[in-house]
């Protein structure tokens, strides 16, 4: 018989509030009026005009593309317009959710890839980055920023990364993947990857629903937001992950850390196995890969939100284990968006205490290269 020698206090089950919770995805609300003072001319003038345009949820013409302007909102009581407009508000709300550190993403600029004007998109990204650091990350508040780069202008994106490479408030680079054309494996983006790798900043590909004539197209015909939202996020992520693997991004940039945000995790084993199957027959098309695609997928990080909620929660743990996700899965809430996940939903999954601590926080510390106070370890 084994004698229990562990002190009673440490035998007790962890509670959510006892452990470090790092949230890989929360959203700040940037409005055209807020960004205008930070924006270079002449585009500041455009933002001053847009400041007077009534705003719908992630939907301002000329700023963030809505659902095509053709669909009626479904009636009901689910208010999807929650937003966070100040760092103090964010800190207060995250405290109530037991979240210690959180990584900030934009609201509207999630859709920056679909803006057709290259100079405008780049100016917006620069304005957002300056505003984010000024208004959100300049305090010791556990709020850590992701730079926005415009895929329309990779050279400008690389300059932004170099400019803020040593900023203590910046821990990553947001790459908008919904609606992006070409996909993120294209070599035109190499300057962004090279700059991020050199700066020691990870890149985070974050999904969103957009109606745009790129994969996954045809979602404009769906009757419901349920259908659009089901398909848009994971399929946009998969399109980009497949492109990045089959063009060799993780081989060209072996020290670059890459994460995929806001698509849940249940698609990961599927796409990994699908890629491995194709690789058997078509390796010569991807001769830069030195091993099967899953070898590289297993090095990517994945954020949990919107976390799948199968009837048997153990199914989700099985799915995570299928891609070796105990060390590469990061909790994310997506606060304050309509489909946010309370940390307890991931915390209560039937995992070992060690795995739970990793997924709730420790994996994110490693991914972002920060300590438990959110201090960068590579400055």
């Amino acid at each position: 018989m084994t004698v229990e020698t562990t002190p009673a206090a440490s035998r007790r089950r962890d509670r959510l509030e006892d452990i470090l919770v790092v949230d890989a995805d929360v959203h700040v609300h940037e409005s055209p009026g807020e960004l205008a003072p930070y924006c270079d001319m002449p585009w500041r003038k455009s933002l001053e005009v847009l400041a007077n345009v009534p705003e719908r949820y992630l939907d301002i013409p000329g700023f963030s593309a809505g659902a095509g302007g053709l669909t009626a909102p479904f009636p009901g009581g689910h208010d999807s317009k929650r937003m966070v407009t100040t760092a103090d508000q964010m800190r207060e709300e995250l405290d109530k959710l037991s979240i210690d550190l959180a990584v900030l993403f934009p609201d509207h600029l999630l859709k920056i890839p679909v803006l057709p004007q290259k100079e405008y998109a780049a100016a917006l990204a620069r304005a957002y980055n300056a505003w984010l650091i000024d208004k959100w990350c300049s305090q010791d508040n556990g709020l850590l920023g992701c730079l926005v780069v415009a895929p329309q202008d990779p050279e400008d994106g690389a300059r932004e990364i170099e400019k803020y490479a040593k900023d203590p408030g910046i821990v990553g680079v947001y790459l908008g993947l919904a609606g992006v054309d070409p996909l993120w494996g294209n070599r035109k983006y190499d300057p962004i990857y090279a700059a991020a790798e050199a700066a020691g900043l990870p890149v985070l590909l974050h999904s969103v629903t957009v109606i745009h004539p790129v994969f996954p197209w045809q979602i404009q015909g769906y009757d419901t937001e349920m259908a659009r939202h089901t398909v848009a996020h994971p399929f946009a992520v998969m399109a980009n992950l497949v492109d990045m693997i089959t063009t060799g991004v993780p081989v060209r940039f072996p020290d670059l850390k890459i994460a995929f945000i806001e698509a849940g995790i249940s698609w990961v084993p599927f796409i990994m196995n699908r890629l491995d199957k194709e690789y058997i027959e078509r390796r010569r098309e991807v001769p830069f890969l030195e091993n099967r695609p899953s070898h590289y997928v297993r090095k990517f990080y994945f954020a949990t939100q919107p976390v799948e909620e199968p009837e048997n929660p153990a199914d989700l743990v099985t799915l995570i284990n299928l891609y070796g996700g105990e060390d590469t899965t990061m909790f994310a809430s997506d606060w304050p968006h309509h489909d946010f996940d309370h940390p307890s939903k991931v915390f209560q999954l039937p995992m070992s205490p060690e795995a739970r601590r990793k997924i709730m926080g420790e994996n994110a510390l490693r991914f972002f290269n920060i300590d438990e106070k959110g201090r960068r370890l590579n400055l």
Binding site: I280, E281, R283, R284, P287, F288, N291, R292
Partner: protein, 122 residues
């Protein structure tokens, strides 16, 4: 005690010119014998992927891609690669190394030439 190896005659050398290969039945085993640029090699006629008849596939080269050529695809190993006719798995004939999977390496058989006869030692 080392197992005694048997020797089997494949045929005269002039019947297997550089670039040619053929499958022979040896004691119930199918073995592919290859002449790569004047050097003889032999592999089992069995692809471990899905038991395809590997050595009935084409001998060709393959594509490689490296940093020093800016990741552009290059033609390489011309005449040194056999591709399984079923699903396209590629193997380096001389070593049996599978190009897709570092951990997969086929066994190779010793091939000798005596009196203008190609012989397998198994």
């Amino acid at each position: 005690m080392a197992r005694t190896r048997k020797e089997f005659t494949v045929g005269p050398t002039h019947e297997l010119q550089p670039g040619q290969h053929r499958v022979v039945d040896v004691d119930g085993r199918e073995i592919g014998v290859f002449n790569v640029d004047g050097t003889y090699h032999a592999l089992p006629n069995l692809c471990p992927h899905q038991i395809g008849p590997l050595c009935q596939g084409r001998v060709s080269g393959t594509l490689i891609s490296r940093k020093d050529t800016d990741w552009q695809r290059q033609w390489a190993h011309d005449g040194e690669i056999v591709t399984c006719p079923w699903h396209g798995m590629e193997y380096h004939i001389a070593t049996g190394q599978c190009l897709a999977f570092p951990e997969v390496r086929l066994r190779t058989y010793e091939v000798v030439v005596e009196d203008d006869q190609i012989k397998l030692r198994i």
